[in-house]
Symmetry: C2
Subunit: 188 residues, 2 copies
DNA sequence: GTCTATATACGGATAGAC
DNA sequence: GTCTATCCGTATATAGAC
């Protein structure tokens, strides 16, 4: 059972995660977080010294979430190819959100990857998580040598699809492109 | 010959274009533009009523630039396939910048595409420019029916490659992925 | 742990002298 | 067309009562 304080902390992180995604990190203010959570300004600073600290917590939260998802997929699907299909399917399922706000990892990286930003390299760990997991699947398919570059190729394809879908705010574009990507997986 | 005022205006736009790309739109302040150009704050407001107006001018500038490039490629290469190759080659040539700051169009779209942003749909015109030109080339290759979706596929591939190259700040990743994309063009 | 009040800095934008 | 001085809002962050 989580203590009261821990629960408040989680509420702040959850709200920040959503706001950073939908509005961007720089465009999200403490006032926004206060408005969403009901937790008062001063109290937020009780849990996090700076806005950067909140961002760090949000990234940790995302890492944990995705790790859990990947573990589950490993349980659900024995065939590495099915796991790859499940990964691609995730993008298709999220097409609505992706078309509205872009990829949560990709747009965060784009924003934080700019010059003079404290967190330039932080979102890379999120990419590492997927890259390493995907590479594992390719290795199990007997493609040890190209595993890493195949993983980056697949990651890049999904990111590109998200960018196009977001620019045109059109989930249907994501569906079309994902079909071609599913074929690519099938033909491995 | 450009008048003095016109020249000053151009300097502001040029500086803003570079700053918006490298630091992001929201992270660029008037003070930054003053520091780069030497043009004083009040004087900038003589040319642009708002920061949004500067952004609009920067987008127009990019549109004009890219239009010129595309026209030149049409002159240089008669074969539509060579024109497609030239497009892909552009990404390869810019890999250094792309790895450092991301795609100038893609990262701008990611930033402005977020919620409650005045310019949510402005960068779409930049994508339209490339999409329509690429679709034209596919049409001339006898692929009228799929022209638009092939164009979006190619655009998406380059965007995805930029995202990965940027996240890992590694131009070599861009080179690798571009090779596979060149093959795709060759096999059309 | 929660809240109010406030410090401090910097953002975009304006007024007006020259 | 250029420049200085300044307004005003809002941002992050802090102090301290309860």
């Amino acid at each position: 059972m989580a203590s009261k304080g821990e629960q408040t902390r989680q509420e702040i992180v959850a709200a920040a995660k959503l706001l950073f995604y939908r509005r961007g990190y720089n465009n999200t203010s403490f006032s926004d977080i206060v408005a969403v959570t009901g937790v008062q300004r001063g109290n937020i600073y009780h849990y996090f010294k700076t806005k950067d600290d909140i961002l760090a917590a949000v990234i940790e939260q995302r890492l944990a979430e995705y790790e859990t998802a990947l573990r589950n997929w490993e349980q659900e699907y024995a065939d590495p190819k099915d796991r790859l299909r499940r990964f691609v399917q995730m993008v298709a399922s999220n097409r609505g959100e992706l078309a509205q706000y872009g990829c949560p990892i990709g747009t965060l990286s784009a924003e934080l990857g700019k010059e003079y930003c404290n967190h330039q390299r932080s979102p890379r760990r999120l990419f590492d998580l997927f890259r390493d997991w995907l590479a594992d699947q390719f290795r199990q398919l007997g493609k040890s040598k190209q595993a890493k570059s195949l993983a980056l190729h697949l990651l890049g394809r999904t990111e590109g699809i998200s960018v196009i879908g977001h620019v045109y705010a059109d989930p249907a574009l994501i569906t079309t492109e994902i079909k071609s990507l599913q074929k690519w997986v099938d033909q491995l």
